[in-house]
């Protein structure tokens, strides 16, 4: 017991469980941006990379104070804060947002500066982080078609709170925003203009993509008119991967993969109660903002033994992403993958923080695993996987061949979506060889099928079949494509109606 306590203590002292303080790439006022670009392969590999402390993004927002949507475009500046919630499970930090934007014709503008004090508390048992923010400074001037509205901070209020759920490979969050913005009547009337907003926030970030969506309900009272608007701002940034072939014949590479980091923000709005003159077709609309893509060339091995192999492209992709690192000359597509190898692949691909092996202040904890020594090359990866809950301590069975059901259990656990399989533990999955699936794996396989990671075609899943490198490359590509392209649809495409 003492030993276990010592291990836990050691873990607490070095575990790099770090979260960025700001989710707010689109702010909390109905605007959107393309989001901050995710780490490239080179950035992720750089141990000396310094955290970003400030960045500015292109920004769009709609103003509804006149009872119709008036779009303005500009920038949002924010200062992300890195917090080590393992070292300091309770604490606070400052958030700040500066937004300036203007309409195409220059008649409408927003100038807004907002500062928050955010208190957080980390629950190690649930691996959930609660963040609650109170406003410490809010200045805002809005000009709509020539009429100026100035925020009265004394009369205005703002509250937001987010809950982060930290799955091994994905950090999900959800929360609420509620505020009352009171503006002095720009037209010189006696009434203040009040805008009341309640919004639900959903988002996630992971190695391949990050998305956020807000469901906002806006009530505006000008004293003489009342308006009501439903608005869904969302943004997504993701790492796309493309292959380009080379035209010259006398070149050592036939082609290679490149990664393209893209981002876009969308606002969909529906003015359910607008000004009297508003035509139905102008009440509903969508605006978009995109940024310029970032390119990164990826290396590719020459795998002469795979010419014509059906999994050649999948395998080359894995090498390019540095998920496979077996010497290409000795690579065999039919060689089964071991559990240890697969854990290492997931840790690399999902950019799970790997503890340094040469940090004397925070040495690697010993004795976490019964079958991997601290000198073993897998050890830091196993510790990384352990820290985020991808594996448990004790026996890892690193040399045991990985079978398909184990692979799906790892994949779903990394996604943190086991809950989608609830109820299937002891019942049926849709596969014809369901009886061969171990009870512990049914939940994950049910969830994987539900998410479309295993397309159901009325067939077999072969849960006990060992996963060869060729299979592994194909399955991982499909899994990474889900993380790149499909997971985001729940936060943008499917939320837009």
């Amino acid at each position: 017991m003492k030993k276990l306590a010592a291990i836990l203590l050691a873990l607490i002292t070095f575990t790099p469980n770090v979260a960025y303080g700001a989710q707010g790439d689109i702010g909390y006022f109905g605007g959107t941006s393309p989001g901050y670009k995710l780490k490239s392969v080179a950035e992720a590999a750089n141990p000396n990379a310094k955290p970003v402390t400030k960045y500015t993004l292109p920004y769009k927002e709609n103003i509804y104070l006149s009872g119709k949507a008036v779009s303005v475009e500009g920038t949002i500046e924010l200062k992300p804060v890195e917090i080590d919630f393992t070292e300091n499970p309770i604490g606070s930090y400052k958030e700040s947002y500066i937004i300036t934007a203007e309409s195409d014709d220059g008649t409408s503008q927003i100038a807004r500066t907002v500062d928050f004090n955010t208190n957080y508390i980390y629950d190690a048992g649930t691996q959930q982080l609660t963040k609650s923010s109170e406003i410490t400074g809010w200045t805002e001037t809005v000009v709509v078609e020539g009429i100026t509205y100035t925020l009265d901070q004394e009369l205005s209020s703002f509250s937001k709170s987010l809950l982060e759920d930290r799955a091994p490979g994905v950090n999900y969050y959800s929360g609420d925003i509620y505020y009352n913005a009171v503006y002095t009547d720009g037209a010189g009337g006696d009434n203040n203009v009040t805008m009341q907003v309640d919004a639900r926030v959903y988002g996630y970030d992971q190695a391949f993509a990050a998305s956020e969506v807000q469901r906002r309900n806006i009530s505006i009272d000008t004293g003489t008119n009342q308006y009501y608007i439903e608005e869904t701002p969302t943004y997504t940034t993701y790492r796309d991967m493309l292959y380009s072939s080379n035209e010259p014949q006398a070149i050592s590479l036939a082609g290679n993969y490149k990664e393209i980091a893209r981002g876009s923000g969308i606002i969909q709005y529906n003015v359910l109660l607008g000004n009297d003159e508003l035509q139905p077709e102008d009440a509903v609309g969508t605006i978009i903002i995109e940024d310029s893509p970032r390119l990164e060339q990826l290396p590719i091995p020459y795998l002469s033994q795979l010419m014509g192999h059906p999994a050649k492209s999948d395998i080359e992709r894995m090498y390019s992403m540095k998920v496979f690192d077996v010497n290409p000359r000795g690579f065999s597509a039919n060689q089964p993958v071991t559990r240890g190898e697969y854990i290492e692949m997931l840790v690399k691909a999902l950019q799970i923080p790997i503890p340094a092996t040469d940090d004397k202040k925070n040495p690697l904890p010993e004795g976490l695993f019964s079958d991997i020594s601290i000198e073993h090359s897998l050890y830091p990866y196993a510790v990384a996987a352990y820290n985020v809950g991808l594996i448990q301590g004790g026996s890892v069975n690193p040399y045991e061949y990985l079978n398909r059901e184990q692979m799906y259990v790892f994949n779903i656990r990394a996604l943190g979506l086991e809950r989608l399989g609830l109820g299937a533990d002891s019942n049926y999955t849709p596969f014809l060889d369901d009886s061969k699936i171990a009870d512990y794996a049914k939940n994950s396989i049910y969830a994987a099928n539900k998410l479309g990671i295993i397309p159901f075609d009325g067939g077999y899943i072969f849960p006990d079949k060992y996963v060869s490198y060729a299979d592994c490359a194909a399955f991982l590509n499909s899994y990474f494509d889900y993380l790149r392209y499909d997971l985001q649809k729940d936060y943008n495409q499917y939320m837009l109606f």
Binding site: L242, I260, R262, I266, I267, Q268, N270, N275, D276, E277, Q279, E281, V284, T286, I287, I288, E290, S292, P293, L295, G423, A424, D425, S426, N427, Y428, T429, P430, F431, L432, D433, D434, S435, Y446, K450, G452, P455, F456, G458, Y485, K489, N492, Q493, Y494, L496, F497
Partner: protein, 589 residues
């Protein structure tokens, strides 16, 4: 037992609010509850026989167990999909008479495939069932929809990964569009929908899926344009393509050329064909850019972008047929009223109701604007909307009474029946509400409803004459515009800031009931929509910005063309200026 009886009496006397459903427990039952003894199990229902008092479920060990119950002692709970959470919670189990619990159901609500948690008494009789169903979400496009029975619809859905799902949809299935109730009969091929499906795995490989709810895309994903041109370049970095010499398809055919047109193009959502055969994005990129091939491209407005979603490459510019009616439609073949027999396959771009549809969705009676290849094959078919004026009627009448914010009565009225007004010497009542729009010489009148009254001096409307747009008895727009008895019609060739340029202009002489050509030289006229005027298109009150080049419109004016010419040009058609007329009512043919 006596003790409990005494307690019951005491409670009955002391607590007048004791629920009528309270029942006495025997001593053993009381002790079991006190000690927290529970007989519980979980499983999945595989048969339910409410009439015989039992159901069969499969437990965690895979055993099939017959569960009996006494209906009077059975409590059933099942959470409906619209209930966000069990708000009453466990307190409802501890105090069953606590309050209304929407989860409370009967044994008949338990369906085969439901996951259940049950409790039994010590004799094995079920006393409590809590059931839940597993739901999944599917998002896709309606490939086919058959609701001819009027009770059950047959839906073929293609999800965004290209997988096909087939469902029976019962008439009672909730269906909404933009948050409002929608009818199953209004579903159309090509629409995007989100479907909530309850999924029950009945056995190895046996999956039962039932549609529980449908949400229809509120027209955020529509075909906004069809272009033709030559593919110049594909930019994979910003996911766009460049179309050279691009032309847009409008009501009057292909529009003017644009040198280079940039369109969003995500290879994962585009389907492409080369002379009937599917081709890959890489093939297009390598062989079909900067060449002589003509491409027809369907553009979908979605998520704020104009995205190419289907491309059809042809070796040369094809023949565009005049719009005509389909008189016969068979799988893979249509016959037109003008005599053509055309082959139509999956490569054809077919657009109906601003949605991309399949060849089998074409129907007899559709008016089609088609582009055909040399071998009578359809490359592109645009189904034109029916000439439809909807239910909007145009009235003119003198105010007799106004019941504030509710309705008003006109003494007599004229009803516009193209191209003339017909007088009705009788009163008529129109309802008004917050949605009724009011216009006067300054244009739209904000809060016009509040000044639409028949008392006082300033705003008194008694005996005033108004033009009224109405659907049935509901006035949707009311204007002080003058009497507009003169009509001119023509084809739009330009629209700019409320001024519409018309060619092929004809004027109507009501005395002779005859249309006369305005100018042999086809100088045309311009019509400027008055501030208090209306535009009516496809049965809707719209703005001048909704008018399109190529459309034929009727313009109702106060004075005749002859009167205007007489006044401004001494009765001659101007040779250097274009005559501009004030239009009060514009209807699109």
């Amino acid at each position: 037992m006596r003790k409990f009886f005494a307690l019951g009496i005491a409670l009955a006397i002391g607590l007048t609010s004791m629920p009528a459903s309270a029942s006495y427990l025997d001593e053993q039952t009381y002790k079991e509850i006190e000690q927290g003894l529970l007989y519980e199990d979980q499983g999945i229902v595989i048969a339910n026989y409410p009439a015989f008092g039992y159901f069969i479920y499969r437990d965690s060990e895979g055993n099939e167990i017959t569960a009996k119950y006494y209906s009077s002692e059975l409590k059933v709970e099942k959470q409906d999909i619209y209930e966000l959470e069990d708000r009453i919670g466990y307190i409802d189990e501890l105090f069953p008479s606590f309050e209304f619990d929407p989860r409370d159901k009967t044994i008949r609500d338990i369906e085969v495939g439901d996951n259940i948690y049950i409790r039994t008494d010590r004799y094995g009789y079920v006393t409590y069932i809590s059931a839940y169903t597993d739901y999944i979400l599917r998002y896709g496009k309606i490939k086919s929809w058959d609701f001819t029975s009027g009770q059950t619809g047959y839906l073929t859905l293609e999800d965004d990964n290209g997988q096909i799902h087939i469902y029976d949809v019962h008439i009672e299935t909730p269906i909404t569009k933009a948050g409002k109730w929608h009818s199953l009969g209004q579903l159309k091929e090509g629409q995007w929908i989100r479907v909530l499906v309850s999924q029950k795995v009945m056995g190895e490989g046996i999956v039962e899926e039932v549609v529980q709810e449908i949400v229809v895309d509120p027209d955020t994903r529509l075909i906004s344009d069809i272009f033709r041109g030559e593919l110049l370049h594909i930019n994979e970095f910003n996911q766009t393509l460049k179309l050279a010499h691009a032309q847009s398809l409008g009501p009057a055919g292909w529009g003017p050329y644009t040198d280079i047109l940039d369109l969003a193009s995500n290879p994962t959502v585009i389907t492409s064909y080369l002379i009937g055969k599917p081709v890959s994005w890489d093939y297009i990129s390598r062989y079909l850019t900067n060449g002589d091939m003509y491409v027809y491209a369907a553009i979908e407005q979605f998520m704020g972008k104009q995205n190419v979603i289907k491309m059809n490459f042809q070796s040369e510019k094809q023949t565009t047929l005049e719009p005509t009616e389909i008189i016969a439609a068979e799988p893979g073949q249509i016959k037109l009223l003008t005599g053509e027999d055309l082959v139509i396959a999956e490569d054809a771009i077919i657009v109906k109701d601003n949605r991309l549809i399949e060849p089998q969705n074409l129907m007899v009676g559709d008016t089609v604007q088609a582009v055909i290849t040399g071998n009578e094959k359809v490359a592109m078919a645009n189904i034109l909307p029916d000439i439809f004026n909807g239910d909007i009627q145009i009235f003119r009448g003198r105010i007799k009474t106004i019941n504030d914010r509710e309705n008003f009565v006109v003494e007599t009225f004229s009803l516009f029946n193209y191209p003339e007004w017909y007088y009705h010497p009788e009163p008529r009542t129109f309802t008004i509400d917050y949605a009724t729009k009011f216009y006067n010489e300054d244009g739209f009148l904000e809060n016009g409803l509040e000044s639409f009254i028949t008392y006082g001096i300033e705003n008194n409307k008694l005996d005033d004459v108004f033009t009224i747009l109405a659907t049935g008895d509901k006035a949707i727009a009311i204007s002080t515009m003058p009497y507009t008895k003169e009509v001119v019609k023509g084809e739009i060739y330009n629209v700019e800031e409320g001024t519409i340029s018309l060619k092929d202009v004809y004027t109507y002489d009501s005395k002779l009931d005859k249309w006369t050509e305005y100018s042999k030289s086809n100088f045309g006229i311009t019509a400027t929509l008055d501030e208090m005027g209306f535009v009516i298109k496809e049965g809707k009150h719209v703005t001048w910005e909704d008018l399109e080049i190529g459309e034929t419109i009727n313009v109702l004016m106060q004075d005749s063309i002859d009167e205007i010419l007489e006044e401004e040009f001494n009765g001659e058609v101007p040779q250097e200026d274009i005559l501009d007329v004030a239009g009060y009512l514009i209807t699109v043919e």
